[in-house]
């Protein structure tokens, strides 16, 4: 059918949708006219009295309701109206069995909720690109082979000087700044970045300017770029701060620019508020200096933006060719090793860096993928479970379905109705699941970030999360609905109805589809139970492993003198003082100091 005709018919039907009453009246009147014409003709031809003619005409015309229905069909969007009809019927059926509906909805809500929550994290941590134009041209550099993303200052400077494959190469290293605020000193997460860092991300500053290569020189003026969040918090919302001063780690810095809230830098999961030039590291790390550590101090990550027209492979090839030269210039000691490899056994490589850098990604990638797999299996089990529930239920509905078949419903029509019912169920369940997923996400994020407030998990759902949830829900709907629909409308049932045979013999022979359904459900459940048992056992082992000491009645207090201006001797004196004072208190047996607490790391 040509499109224009299709369109015209749709319009006609749309109009008919609003003129339904008129249409019905016309249909009645048309039939009445036809009937009277037929009757008068029968009277004439067969010379019958009017009453007899009426009976004869009724017989020839047949079921009025049926042919009126056929006429209505011509004007209808059949599928739409049937769908709405099925939907209404489905709502009624589900409301009749509230306990079944509640169990089904809860099962689906949990499964879909868990899937949406885990996928939101997968999306944030592994999929979502940085908020930067042409982020697909961003690269993350490492020392191959292996996952050595750390760089030292001389290596980065040599690379920055020699490379040709990138329009910008930049380095960044995290730093916790002690900011002198009105109410005292506060630690704020920031970054030390090289001169081309901002240029590479192509995000213009909200006010002032960003850092440029001429800022990134040793002994340069102390300048800082702040985030709009930092400005709002320390200077008041929307304040003009360019040119004003801020004291960071006891050094007076001049603010030269403000970056907008959507700027993520190179670390989308870390909330960096302050950016100072890389070369000023000795100022804020005083009295130490990572730059002075030279080739032995690996404290930064390196990224780049591939030149237009240069592919990531070409950039990699260039890096590989140039590696030897750069490494030999930087590392003079032939005995130097990195991960047990000499300077001749390693080379520079570039990975796609559209997602930016986050240590969380390396730490949690595998666990997240495993978790994603697990919740998908949970979804599968939930769907299969629901399918068998529906199947059990359809056995009790045999009479209803048989009646529908007896009244002339086609198999596809009844199937559509059953599928609409399961679709209704899954849609409501999925809706509930989506509604509760933010709470699940919060729990997961709290676990991942372990109360590290400098982390910025933006898990607001984007199109990827929505598409994923939609697909998951549709898959659940199909798994849930199809088997019961196929089974309960199958030839079996219809034959049974037709032959009035006892169903005892029939049900003894379980059909293949059902066996597959039950088999796969048990298989999935077994995998989950095994996985859960293993997980529980390792957790139990960690919990019950002896610490090697008795932690009862031990209290811990943290103290940092790192930024203190005291001389080392004065600091030691302070520690002794503290020890003496604390020991003197009643109820204190021992006082001791440690730089790192036993078992304070992650388990």
């Amino acid at each position: 059918m040509p499109f224009s005709e299709h369109f015209r018919q749709t319009l006609t039907r749309l109009r008919a949708l609003f003129l339904r009453k008129q249409l019905e009246q016309d249909l009645d009147e048309e039939l009445a006219f036809h009937r009277s014409m037929r009757e008068s003709q029968i009277q004439q031809d067969d010379r019958l009295p009017p009453e007899a003619a009426h009976i004869v005409a009724s017989r020839t015309i047949g079921s009025e309701a049926k042919w009126k229905d056929y006429c209505r069909d011509a004007w209808r969007f059949n599928w739409l109206e049937e769908f709405l009809q099925d939907l209404r019927y489905g709502v009624r059926t589900l409301r009749k069995s509230p306990s079944f509906t509640a169990v089904a909805l809860l099962t689906l809500a949990l499964a879909v909720g868990a899937n949406t929550a885990v996928f939101s994290l997968v999306n944030t941590l592994l999929l979502r690109p940085l908020n930067s134009p042409e982020s697909n041209r961003l690269a993350l550099l490492r020392l191959a082979p292996g996952e050595g993303y750390s760089f030292s200052y001389p290596l980065f400077r040599q690379l920055e000087h020699d490379q040709q494959a990138f329009s910008e190469v930049f380095a960044f290293g995290g730093h916790g700044f002690h900011v002198q605020g009105v109410g005292g000193v506060e630690e704020v997460s920031g970054s030390m970045v090289s001169g081309s860092f901002f240029a590479a991300f192509r995000v213009p500053p909200e006010a002032g300017r960003y850092l440029i290569p001429s800022d990134d020189v040793q002994g340069g003026a102390p300048v800082v770029v702040v985030s709009s969040r930092f400005r709002d918090r320390f200077f008041g919302h929307g304040a003009t701060v360019v040119g004003r001063h801020v004291v960071l780690d006891r050094v007076d810095f001049t603010i030269v620019g403000v970056m907008p809230a959507h700027f993520q830098g190179a670390e989308p999961l870390s909330r960096r508020e302050l950016y100072i030039p890389l070369a000023l590291e000795p100022l804020v790390d005083a009295p130490f200096s990572s730059i002075a550590g030279g080739i032995h101090s690996w404290w930064m990550r390196v990224g780049g933006r591939v030149r237009p027209g240069v592919s990531m492979e070409a950039a990699n090839q260039w890096l590989r060719r140039g590696s030897s030269n750069i490494l030999h210039r930087v590392i003079q000691d032939p005995k130097w090793t990195f991960n047990n490899r000499t300077r001749d056994q390693i080379y520079l490589a570039a990975d796609a860096g559209a997602g930016g850098y986050s240590y969380l990604r390396f730490r949690f990638r595998r666990s997240l993928i495993v978790l994603m797999g697990l919740v998908l299996v949970v979804l599968l089990v939930a769907s299969l479970n629901l399918a068998s529930l529906l199947l059990a239920r359809s056995a009790t509905r045999e009479r209803e379905l048989a009646t529908r078949f007896a009244l002339g419903a086609s198999r596809s029509r009844v199937m559509r109705q059953l599928l609409t019912e399961s679709l209704l169920l899954t849609c409501c369940g999925a809706g509930l699941g989506v509604a509760m997923s933010p709470a699940l996400v919060r729990v997961l994020v709290a676990y991942l970030s372990q109360s590290d407030l400098t982390l910025a998990f933006d898990t607001t759902p984007d199109w990827r999360v929505l598409a994923f949830t939609a697909i998951v829900s549709i898959v659940a709907a199909v798994i849930t609905g199809l088997t019961p629909a196929l089974r309960s409308t199958g030839r079996d049932l219809r034959d049974k109805m037709r032959d009035h045979r006892s169903s005892v013999n029939e049900s003894a022979r379980t059909p293949l589809g059902l066996r597959v359904l039950l088999g796969s459900e048990i298989a999935c459940a077994l995998v989950l139970v095994t996985g859960a048992a293993l997980l529980a056992q390792s957790l139990f082992r960690i919990q019950s492993a002896p610490l090697g000491f008795n932690p009862v009645d031990v209290t811990v207090h943290a103290l940092s003198l790192q930024k203190s201006t005291r001389t080392p001797q004065a600091k030691i004196a302070l520690y002794h003082d503290l020890q003496a004072q604390l020991s003197g208190g009643s109820g204190t047996k021992f006082v001791s100091f440690a730089s790192v607490l036993p078992v304070s790391g992650s388990v």
Partner: protein
Amino acid sequence: MGKNPERDKSSDLLPGTLEMLILKALQRGPLHGYGVAEWIHRASSEALSVEEGALYPALHRLEVKGYVSSEWGESENNRRAKFYQMTRAGQKQLTQEAERWERISSVIGQVMQTA
């Protein structure tokens, strides 16, 4: 059509031919549904009688497709009746259908006459 097994099988039509016959009936001018049925009955020398259960749905389908238009008017016995009139699209459709029918029936005839 042919849903009632007691009916004479000769009234069964090939699928799609009913719509063509209706258009043919309307070629001379507007008719109501009963008139269409009567015309087909007479034109086929009383061999074809169109069931109401098939005729009216077909008329309505033709109307939705835009091959006929309808109008309420006065019938020969002064009753209100719905008259159907062929549109230009309907005329075109009839020509096409007639050609197709011609071709098929001649081919089938040829096959059936082969010894």
